[in-house]
Each structure stands twice: as C-alpha cells, then as structure tokens.
C-alpha cells in the first residue's frame, strides 16, 4: 500500500472517530466560542477596539482550541494502546503523520469557519478580501496541523503530556500567529497586496514542518 493510501486510511479513521465521539463539536468548538465570547466581554466598552484586534483574538482562539484537538488526536492512540496496533500493522511513519495532520487540519478548518462567523457577529467586523483570508487560513491551518502533529507525538509517550504539549508547541507556533494575524489584518483592511509576504511566510512554515514531519515522525512514533 502506498504512502498516500495509508495516509487516507489514517485520516478516514481519525475523522470517523471524531464524528462518532463528537468531542470536536461538543467540546472543542464550544471552547473556542467561549474564548472569543470572553474577549468580547473583556473589551466590550469600546467595540472599535474589538474590531481592530479581531484577527489576533481569532487566531488566539483557534490556537487554544487547536491544542485540544491535537491532544485529542493522540489521546485516542493511547487508549487501549491503539498506537501499538498501528505500529504492528507496519504503516509508514510518514503516512501516519500525513493522515493525522490532515484529520487535525480538517477539524481546524471547520472550527475556523464557526469561530469566524462568531467573530463577525460578536466583534462587528466587516469582511473584505475573502480570497486572501481563505488562503491565509489554509496555509496557517496546514502549518498548525503539521507542527501540532509533530510535537504531539513527541509529547505522546510522556506522563506529563497534557501540560508539556502547550509549552513545547506555543513558542514554535509564534510565526504562524504573527503571519496569520497580519495577513488577516491586511485582508480585512482591504489591502490584500500587503498580505502576500505574510501568506508566503505561512506557506514556507507549512511546507517546512510538513517535510520535517514526514521525515521525523516515524522514528519518533517508534521510540516515544
């Protein structure tokens, strides 16, 4: 079986588990919505501020919810040592990485659509430059998912993984936060041309971490 077919098998399995357990819909999405709601309460006196900082608040909410999604993606592998079953099946490490990262990316994209709608409604944001926003979201999501999957497997075998994962991951994701926030700001201000360097940064980050993940995930999956 080729790498792409193995990756498709893993992504299908992970998405089926998420759709059956409904953890993403019943816990991760509400968590993200609560975060943006809390920002709205905190900055309510001046709704102008909310609209101006909306891109940053949106990506912070996505990032925090993504930590839950990434943790969940590896928790299912630890239950009943399902991870040993995957190892025994002889699937390629790179394929497992691509499959798990793709499943996380799909979940994050759904989350971003819902949180985006919440931000528009709660923060009174006027949406411009929809094309650059979509492109930014795609590049940032791939970067988030790839990095999260790589660091997720690093933390997976550790006793303190729940607290260690954010500590490892958040500093590494700083460029994604910066690039996605700036690109969204430029897009929403009607200056999509200014957003291209940030989108390029996000694209490079996504390609880099996807390549590192394909190469490094297998040995980490075996040893952790």
């Amino acid at each position: 079986m080729g790498v792409w077919r193995e990756a498709a098998l893993v992504v299908g399995k992970d998405l089926r588990i998420e759709s059956r357990s409904r953890v993403a819909i019943s816990q991760i999405v509400p968590f993200g919505l609560i975060v943006i709601l809390l920002f709205a309460f905190a900055l309510d006196p001046d709704r102008g501020i909310l609209a101006r900082v909306a891109p940053g608040l949106f990506w912070i909410a996505v990032l925090l919810a993504a930590l839950l999604a990434i943790g969940r993606a590896f928790a299912t592998e630890e239950q009943h040592r399902a991870r040993d079953g995957l190892r025994l099946a002889g699937l390629d490490g790179g394929a497992i990485f691509l499959g798990k990262a793709a499943a996380i990316a799909v979940e994050l994209l759904v989350l971003e659509v819902i949180l985006g709608a919440g931000v528009v409604l709660l923060y009174d944001v006027n949406v411009h430059g929809i094309g650059i926003l979509i492109l930014t979201a795609l590049a940032a999501t791939i970067g988030l998912a790839a990095t999260g999957t790589l660091y997720g497997v690093l933390a997976a075998g550790l006793r303190l993984r729940e607290t260690l994962l954010p500590l490892l991951l958040l500093p590494v994701l700083a460029p994604v936060m910066l690039g996605a926030t700036r690109a969204f700001e430029d897009g929403l201000e009607g200056a999509p041309g200014d957003a291209w360097p940030w989108v390029a940064l996000l694209g490079i980050f996504a390609v880099l971490y996807t390549a590192i993940g394909v190469l490094a995930f297998g040995p980490l999956w075996e040893e952790t």
Partner: protein, 219 residues
Amino acid sequence: MPLVVRLRSAVCLLGRFPALAGVDLDVEPGEVVLLAGPNGAGKTTLLRLIAGLVPLYSGEAAVFGVDLAVDRRGARRGLALVGHETFCYDDLTVRENLRFMARAGGGQAADADPVIARLGLGAVADLTHAKLSAGQRRRLALGAALVRDPRLLLLDEPHAGLDADGREVLHEIVAAAPAEGRTVLMASHELELARELATREVRVDSGRATAVSPRGALT
C-alpha cells in the same frame, strides 16, 4: 527451514532495569511455544521485544531472519500480537476496527468478515469497542491479530477474561495454527490449559529463559 525467532543473549531494558537479562531462544516454524513463569519474570517484555515494540539493548534478535536491531518495522510484517490491551479504538465498531486493521496490514476490508464469524463476534459486530464486555474485547483483540493472517502469533495471557466459549474459540485457533502455517508463542499463567495446546514449554524467570521441555515433548 529458517527460524521464526532467534534470540542470542538478548537484553532489554525498561528504564535502567534489565527486564530481559540475556535470553537465548529459537522457535521453529509450526511450533506452539508456551512461556511460563511468575509475574514480572519478563514474559510480556519478551513478547514485545519479538514484536518490535521495545528496543533491543544488546545481544541479537531476529524474526523471520530480519534483524530487530536494524529493521523493527520489517521484522513485524508477518507477526501479530495479542496483548493485555485490544489495540483498538473505543469509538469504532468491532467491524470498523477489524476492517481498519485488515487494510492497515495491507489486506482488504472484506478480510474482517470471516474473522468476525470465526470468533463469534457477529452479534456485536456493529457495537463500538466502548460498549463491549471484557470477554468480547478479548475476542476482538484476537480478531485484530488474526485479520492480518500472521505467520507468527504472539499471545500474552490469551485466556484472561475469556468465558468458556471464548476459550474454546481460542483453543480452536491455536490448535489449527500449525496447519494454517502459523507459529505461536504464548505467555500464560493458565498452565494446564496452555499445556494442552503447546508443543514446547520454556520457563522465563528473572529475565532469562530456560527450556523446560524439549521440542515436541508436549505434543
């Protein structure tokens, strides 16, 4: 005929503790080898070493002639392990778990159907793993191993949690293994039951293995 398992002075560490302290073991094709020994003797670690799930610290270990120190993934290709856990997913049904395992092992989803029938899991095939009883989970674990049609079947306490019907199914599977081209290595505390099936017994104690009966003595 090449050995299925060949261990020479195999040492395996769990942390700094030598769980296996120099094991020598040869297993030939078609054998049903019983690993007996007290709790903490190293039986589970020995099976996990052969399955390539824990690393070899020193010595030599090969499965189907593939060196575990060099290519653990390659050595695993023809084997399956039934461990203490099921290696399955709570939110997938019995059928979905087995179909996934079959496809992940390079087979077809349809390979799951005869395994479901053989293990008597038809009535619960559409229940999720989370809703299964302990005995049904043990059968599913056995199914997850068999669905990949392994040439080497590693069984860790296979009788645990099985009712009388389940034990009958297990015995049928182990008894049929040599005729199906399978070699079996099982660790068990249910010695009377396991000896009915085994062709040879090896005692594991303090991380070392000692032959109790010569090859074929228990048949």
